[in-house]
Amino acid sequence: EADIYQTPRYLVIGTGKKITLECSQTMGHDKMYWYQQDPGMELHLIHYSYGVNSTEKGDLSSESTVSRIRTEHFPLTLESARPSHTSQYLCASSAPGQGYNEQFFGPGTRLTVL
């Protein structure tokens, strides 16, 4: 069973606040990903990382930033939250087995910006 954790699970915050969504995995996976998902819509990749000190932007433009200082930790930060950032944020990781094909997902953080 995948061991990937996200905190908080739910967050309601006012406009202009700085927030950090946490993601940790205990599987030693080198690849990690952040997706954004709105209700009934596709998951969109917003950031990914090949390993420590590696971060790349995904297909969907996002005002968030990420960092990868440790293998197990991949936090996402919004410097100034806006209502347009309201969404579900999903973190995932993958390992070299089978060519990184299987991505393990965390439970998600549902963010509401008022």
Partner: protein, 111 residues
Amino acid sequence: EDQVTQSPEALRLQEGESSSLNCSYTVSGLRGLFWYRQDPGKGPEFLFTLYSAGEEKEKERLKATLTKKESFLHITAPKPEDSATYLCAVREESNDYKLSFGAGTTVTVRA
């Protein structure tokens, strides 16, 4: 341009009523097609990977098949616990480790 299209958007089944979900994809070179299950308020859970046309994978009441243009997820004699949103995703040969997801099919199985 949509790479992955899933149909139908929603499917309501009676317990034991078998059915199929469709995933149509448009990529220049397919590196893999993936099926995930997502329960409300949770992250997607991996089900299958298919690599080439003609390939089939099975898990309990679920069977996934692949052609050159689409994949089907067959649900045989479903039970209420099979109720979930089923997501399809593809990985192109030109994209490093990135998956493109469809919007999903929400399946509701009534007892």
